[in-house]
């Protein structure tokens, strides 16, 4: 792909996105003059850019959009709800076409057809632009009356002008019938010239004259068009002919066809055409499909209209779910290959590189001092100095690179207004979306990783959380619900809170369902706190929706949300008050590239434990350890903490069993999804920042490890994934 096209794709996506946002804004504030101007500019830019490439479908669509916007700007048109809806559809479709261009380099025929349909609905006065025929019933039929007999006699030297008459005829819209006739030389003797056109065409087609004129614009003077109509016939005659045609159709649809049937049908059709002043000469065929288009054409001409139109635009619902899948497509695509970086941040990195070069140049100087036989202690001090400055620079470099990867939340959140609007419309609910703190920044992986879970939570909330406007009114709440998405930074974590003022989660129902599904026994359910009951919705295999709706009940539940957030080392908390709403709080690390780990010793080997799971380190006297059903546990700050031996969990043999026999056990208290636990280890080696590398190759399937990190001495530190181990 050329870089210009790449740039066009990237830029158009941005423009389309901002245009959709502007449209939504204009829907709420129709008088927003600046918004309208910005929208017009965006559309204009896309149009201009698309003209550089062979993308007529895209260009014509944007062109019509631009026209409409221009009219609205001039005050000749109003930005009605329908116009906004169609424009949004047009933008969606444009982004689909751009996706296609990116993957396959061109626009597929289906997309082109849909483009034509949207184009038609955008064109004022509803002028339908017919799509290319595909042999059978025309999809988007022009009104009856546009029926033509086209006679086309190509010039003898047509081939030398690069023309292909057959191709031209073949691509006529609404083509129903073609007769080919030899012109001039009849036989293929020695004098026959293959490069001379010697054929003429007579075609019947159903399309507006303007469209046909356009088709034949390069062969003026070689084409004659005669309108076909049954106006000259009386009502009764039309009735007979119609019955006759209907009978032919019936005959041809019979499964068993006698030999003479085709000739008889051909004669009838030829005569019917004659009544319509269509001089057909070679009506014949050897299979039903040879006659069907002609019968349909003649019937349309005689009856004035055809059967109810099929095809055309898809039903509304289909459209809505289409929009939804499109959203998903754009969300996944959002993991873009490009990173937009503030120039200042790049400059900062450049400066650091400069400092690094200076620091590097200092090292040969130390080497020369060693060679000259300098004092060992002095040299060591000198080396440590150099080390300190290199260390400082690498720290800063790391920070600078991390900053480059930082993205604002808004890139994920900006798609939500459209989604909320569409889904709420579809569900007949009124929901206002409030987004706060979307300027909060986090690492690219985090921001992109949170997109899907967030989308799912929002969908769930719209689907199950909010009541219908009437229910809300009855409950004394405003008709329109409020969905709030708030992002902020708390320490080294980014927190996203999604809250709604809907009906809240009915814990009794959740528990009943969980027991029903066999996730818990009735006794267990009885003993659960409301908090624990709420967390059930994150369990795999649980869905409270009675009916699987096409929105959230797609086989992916909240457990997927939980899992994808945990993969990013984040946590999800939920709180809900019946009748008042639900609050879901997602906390994720700002960056996952650098992890802070606690280094522990166990059986002579070092293991890293992610710092965010560590609660505290304690020593517990053997005497305080109690055995509950063979498991060891200790009471710590009035809580029972189960104890696990890290070496036995990891199944590594202990060279000497002194540690577990010692008077005091060294215990690392960690927090896992299932609660607090204590890990018995041999000792601690402090904490450190490491760059975690995931397990690769054959080791990838190894469970229990989050990855590996390189230690300063070249050793490998295995970092444990506690969730998988405990």
């Amino acid at each position: 792909m050329s870089s210009v096209l790449e740039q066009f794709i990237e830029e158009s996506r941005e423009l389309i996105e901002s245009s959709s946002d502007l449209l939504l804004r204009l829907e709420r504030h129709p008088d927003d003059r600046q918004g309208l101007d910005a929208l017009f500019r965006a559309v204009h830019t896309i149009k201009g850019n698309s003209g550089l490439f062979e993308l007529p479908e895209l260009t014509s669509l944007v062109h019509v959009l631009e026209d409409r916007m221009e009219k609205v700007r001039a005050g000749d048109d109003v930005l009605s709800r329908e116009l906004i809806q169609t424009s949004l559809e047009a933008f969606d479709h444009m982004s689909c076409m751009i996706d296609e261009v990116e993957t396959s380099g061109c626009v597929s025929p289906e997309a082109a057809a849909e483009s034509a349909a949207i184009l038609a609905s955008l064109t004022p006065g509803g002028i339908r632009v017919s799509t290319l025929p595909d042999g059978d019933e025309t999809k988007d039929s022009p009104p009856p009356g546009d029926m033509w007999l086209v006679s086309y006699l190509p010039k003898p030297d047509a081939f030398f002008c690069g023309e292909d008459p057959l191709y031209l005829v073949q691509s006529l819209p609404g083509l129903a019938y073609v007769e080919t006739e030899c012109v001039g030389q009849d036989t293929l003797d020695e004098r026959y010239d293959v490069f001379q056109a010697n054929v003429s065409y007579r075609a019947l087609c159903h399309a507006p004259q303007s469209v046909l004129d356009d088709c034949f614009r390069y062969v003026p003077g070689q084409v004659q068009m005669t309108g076909v109509s049954a106006d000259a016939l009386s009502e009764a005659q039309r009735g007979y002919l119609s019955t006759l045609l209907h009978a032919q159709h019936e005959v041809l649809t019979c499964t068993e066809l006698a030999r003479g049937v085709y000739e008889s049908v051909a004669t009838v059709l030829s005569n019917v055409a004659g009544c319509l002043q269509i001089p057909l000469q070679s009506v014949r065929g050897s299979r039903p499909s040879d006659f069907m288009p002609l019968i349909a054409f003649l019937r349309r001409a005689i009856e004035g209209s055809t059967q109810p139109q099929q095809g055309g635009r898809p039903a509304h619902d289909e459209h809505a779910s289409l929009a939804d899948t499109r959203y998903e497509a754009s969300a996944t695509r959002n993991e873009s290959r490009y990173l937009k970086i503030d120039r200042v941040r790049v400059d900062r990195l450049m400066e650091l590189i400069g400092e690094m070069v200076v620091a590097k140049n200092g090292l040969p100087y130390v080497a020369r001092r060693v060679e000259a036989g300098g004092d060992a202690r002095d040299v060591a001090r000198e080396l440590m100095n150099r080390y300190a400055s290199v260390s400082r620079i690498t720290d800063e470099m790391q920070d600078a690179v991390m900053r480059m990867r930082m993205m604002p939340m808004s890139s994920t959140v900006q798609r939500l207004p459209r989604l909320v609007r569409d889904i709420a419309h579809r569900l007949g609910k009124e929901v206002e979306l409030v987004v706060r703190g979307d300027e909060t920044e986090a690492d690219k992986t985090i921001i992109e990783g949170i997109a899907d879970p967030l989308l799912h939570i929002v969908r769930n909330s719209l689907d199950h959380g909010f009541e219908s406007p009437d229910e809300r009114e009855a409950a004394g709440k405003p008709r329109a619900g409020t969905l709030t998405i708030e992002a902020c930074q708390e320490g080294d974590r980014v927190v996203v809170v999604v809250s709604d003022d809907g009906r809240g989660i009915d814990t009794a129902r959740v528990l009943a369902k969980a027991v029903d599904k066999g996730l818990f026994t009735a006794d267990e359910a009885e003993a659960m706190s409301p908090q624990e009951a709420l967390r059930i919705i994150f369990m795999p295999g649980f869905s409270t929706a009675e009916q699987v709706s096409d929105l959230s009940g797609r086989g992916v539940g909240m457990d997927v949300v939980m899992r994808s957030i945990e993969q990013l080392r984040g946590t999800v908390d939920i709180d809900s008050q019946p009748g008042q709403g639900t609050v879901i709080r997602i906390a994720m690390p700002l960056s996952i590239a650098v992890s802070h780990v606690m280094v522990t010793r166990c059986s002579g080997q070092l293991y890293g434990i992610p710092m965010d799971t560590v609660v505290e380190t304690v020593r517990i006297a053997q005497a305080d350890i109690q055995r509950i059903r063979g498991h060891r546990a200790a009471v710590l700050r009035d809580r029972i903490v189960p104890l696990f031996d890290l070496s036995s969990i990891l199944q590594v043999s202990r060279p000497d069993d002194t540690a577990s026999q010692a008077a005091e056990l060294t215990v690392l208290i960690v927090r896992t999804r299932s609660g607090i636990a204590g890990l018995v280890v041999d000792g601690f080696d402090g904490s450190m920042d490491v760059i975690l590398k995931p397990m690769e190759g054959v080791l990838a399937s190894l469970r229990g490890y989050a990855g590996t990190a390189l230690l300063g001495d070249g050793g490998v530190l295995l970092v444990i994934n506690l969730e998988e181990l405990l």
Binding site: D136, P165, L175, S282
Partner: protein, 81 residues
């Protein structure tokens, strides 16, 4: 090569351009000279240039045309003679 020549048949495969017209004409001449009643199979053809169709219109033999679609409508005369 979109035209596949066999002793007594020609298969039109995919898009068939005007470049093949002379060869087709020569083949037809040859067939006529040997008194062969040829078969022209256009069922797998997606496009055929007018120059080739002109030859087929004047050549003896049977023509198989695509099942459906605009090309099928355009070649109906050939397929049903």
């Amino acid at each position: 090569m979109a035209l596949i020549f066999a002793p007594d048949s020609v298969t039109f495969d995919g898009g068939c351009s005007i470049e093949e017209a002379e060869q087709l004409l020569a083949w037809v001449h040859d067939a006529v000279a040997h008194d062969i009643h040829p078969l022209f199979d256009l069922t797998r053809c997606t496009h055929v240039h007018t120059a080739l169709v002109q030859v087929l219109l004047r050549a003896p033999g049977r023509v198989l045309i695509p099942e459906s679609g605009p090309l099928s409508i355009c070649l109906r005369d050939l397929g049903s003679r």
